[in-house]
Symmetry: C2
Subunit: 378 residues, 2 copies
């Protein structure tokens, strides 16, 4: 194996696959990344066995020669070390050569590294995925969907299935739900290209967070393929595989109230900032609870107190408050997470009483729904 490559392009590819490599893996070969060069270009693969990322760098792009392939071949090199070396090489070109015994030579200018590589045939194969259950979402929309739901997954392993986001394709719609049993985030998306059949999977929250870092903010299509054990996200140059979580995801639809006694319409950003300030004192008490009260004249009061530090009161002018008077307490963190997911717009908060779950959504549409359980304080 021997080839020359533009250093910047190799770095871009490494940036992506490095996100799958974990230093904590128990499988030694997974501390490495696999390089496979053919006449067409270079495949880089990284994996922590939960997530596998493969990128492809084309030998020629827009008439520009990115890679000069002298001899095809494949090798596994220690990922962190290889990445740091390439990052610090002195010139814009890199030559990589592997001889017998997996000795890997990396040359750039007058700098020459000799790394001890590993046999690529010992590197795990990519999961086999058939393309039958496939649908397409633009990259930027996919990132929004992840951002609006993934924060609500459980961080506790006591119910592993809740550490993932439930993705369900049904009636031409994708419904994504995450809950840690104290709050819930739901995002509905109409799919342009109607997939056949119904299917649902639970994707680990961690995988979705990593996916978000890799896909761009463009409207480039991302092909999504679901199988029994794996989900694959495909862009033009990246394959992102994640294992799925096993177990039945709970039916969350019955958690969402059907009728409401108080509806507050308010600017989401103003409410977010007021709760952010109130939580400064609430945090001192460990529970991070703020109080929300409806006052006369469409005013909402946000308050919190800490016996040792002091207290805070905030008034926010709401657009409207309809229905019963209300005093309720909830986690400042959950409310701030929910408001960030709904993103600055005017929001509608609907309550069914001080001890019942309440929901939050944009005044413009129902695509995003956030549900929070209140906290008893007296």
């Amino acid at each position: 194996m021997k080839f020359e490559i533009m250093r910047e392009r190799l770095l871009d590819g490494l940036n992506d696959v490095m996100k799958a490599v974990s230093s904590k893996t128990t499988i030694p070969i997974l501390t490495g990344i696999k390089l496979e060069v053919t006449e067409q270009g270079l495949h880089l693969t990284g994996s922590d066995s939960d997530i596998t990322i493969q990128t492809f760098i084309k030998a020629e792009e827009n008439g520009e020669q990115v890679i000069r392939v002298i001899e095809e071949g494949t090798i596994v090199v220690q990922a962190r070390m290889f990445n740091e070396i390439v990052r610090k090489l002195p010139t814009s070109d890199v030559e990589i050569e592997v001889n017998e015994q997996y000795q890997t030579h990396i040359r750039s200018g007058k700098s020459e590294f000799h790394l001890i590589g590993l046999d690529a045939s010992e590197y795990p194969l990519l999961p086999e995925i058939q393309d039958d259950r496939q649908f397409v979402i633009p990259a930027d929309l996919l990132k929004s969907i992840v951002r609006e739901t993934v924060f609500a997954v459980s961080t506790s392993e006591s119910r592993p299935v809740l550490t993932g986001v439930h993705w369900e394709v049904k009636n031409g719609e994708l419904v994504c739900v995450a809950t840690d049993s104290h709050r819930l985030a739901r995002r509905k998306t109409t799919l342009e290209q109607l997939p056949e059949g119904e299917y649902s999977v639970v994707i680990p929250g961690k995988s979705l967070n990593e996916l978000s870092k890799i896909i761009g903010d463009s409207s480039e299509p991302v092909h999504i393929v679901m199988t029994q054990q794996q989900v694959l996200f495909k862009t033009s140059d990246v394959l992102f595989y994640s294992r799925l979580l096993e177990g039945n995801y709970p039916d969350t639809s019955r958690l969402i109230p059907n009728e409401y006694k108080t509806t507050v319409t308010v600017n989401g950003k103003a409410l977010l900032q007021a709760i952010d300030r109130a939580s400064l004192l609430a945090r001192e008490e460990r529970n991070n609870i703020v109080r929300f009260s409806s006052l006369e004249g469409n005013v909402v009061e946000i308050s919190s107190s800490s016996p040792e530090v002091g207290k805070v009161e905030e008034e926010i002018q709401a657009t409207s408050i309809e229905g019963e008077e209300l005093k309720i307490s909830f986690s400042a963190k959950y409310m701030m997470d929910a408001l960030k997911a709904v993103d600055g717009q005017d929001v509608m908060v609907q309550f069914t009483g001080a001890m019942r779950p309440f929901i939050l959504k944009s005044v413009h549409d129902d695509a995003i729904l956030q549900l929070i359980l209140p906290v008893r304080t007296y």
Copy 2:
């Protein structure tokens, strides 16, 4: 006490004094900052008992009213909380009012905080400093002097005096020396305003690092006053006090060789980058040692190896190599620190043999001298 202040100006002042406040202090009142408002303006004071920082915000500046003083007074408030509150307040103006029982009210727009303050009379007084031993250095030069020496202080408490930088004023010159007994950094500065007498102090490295963060990059004069126990750095709006280290600083002048057997002149940046790359492999071995060899044709070879990972060789074209052939090994970290202090220029490295300390300085002047002890490797 009652006053209104422009939020941005209060934040700037807090930014400075917060650098002296430590959450790890054993003196409860030092978790707070002291506010003292008079007709002239607001004094803010923060301290961890080693470092004390006081800033002054003038009530009026360039005809603009920054502070409206309604009632003079003084209070101590919990530093971290007060700082975060001011940072998050909704409008550009803040009203602060203290009533009996040290209740402190912070108002901005429709947001109102009530903090439990502390009696300012319990806050330690500033050290008393007489202005007789004073000299002046421009702020940007002071920052350079700190940057070029402070990294070489010892991090071990086994000889506490070595955790500071030795500042000696003598014959119209300031000589700053730091050493951890494996390497040494020395910076000489000619003082424009000749101070009277000779004096020397040892300033804790930590204090100098914090000082660097506070003083600007301008040529504004910084007045430096040294006493037996304290040093004071004074700019137009900040007073920075640091305690001094006790004990005799060792005489380091005899460490610096008088004659050299090999002199290498080389671009500092090229050498720095080569050692940075070589240290990627050297780090794996914990000792972080690289080899430096003079070759034919004014070439320097930098190399290192790690049995488990591999090896690296780098060649650098030197401007000149004079004297005996040389192979020497040293800490990559120490060499990189020294090269960064000399800052990108062409450097002269002078050796007296593979087992003797060597020095590094700019080809242009002797103001900065870096000394490193080599490491035996065979």
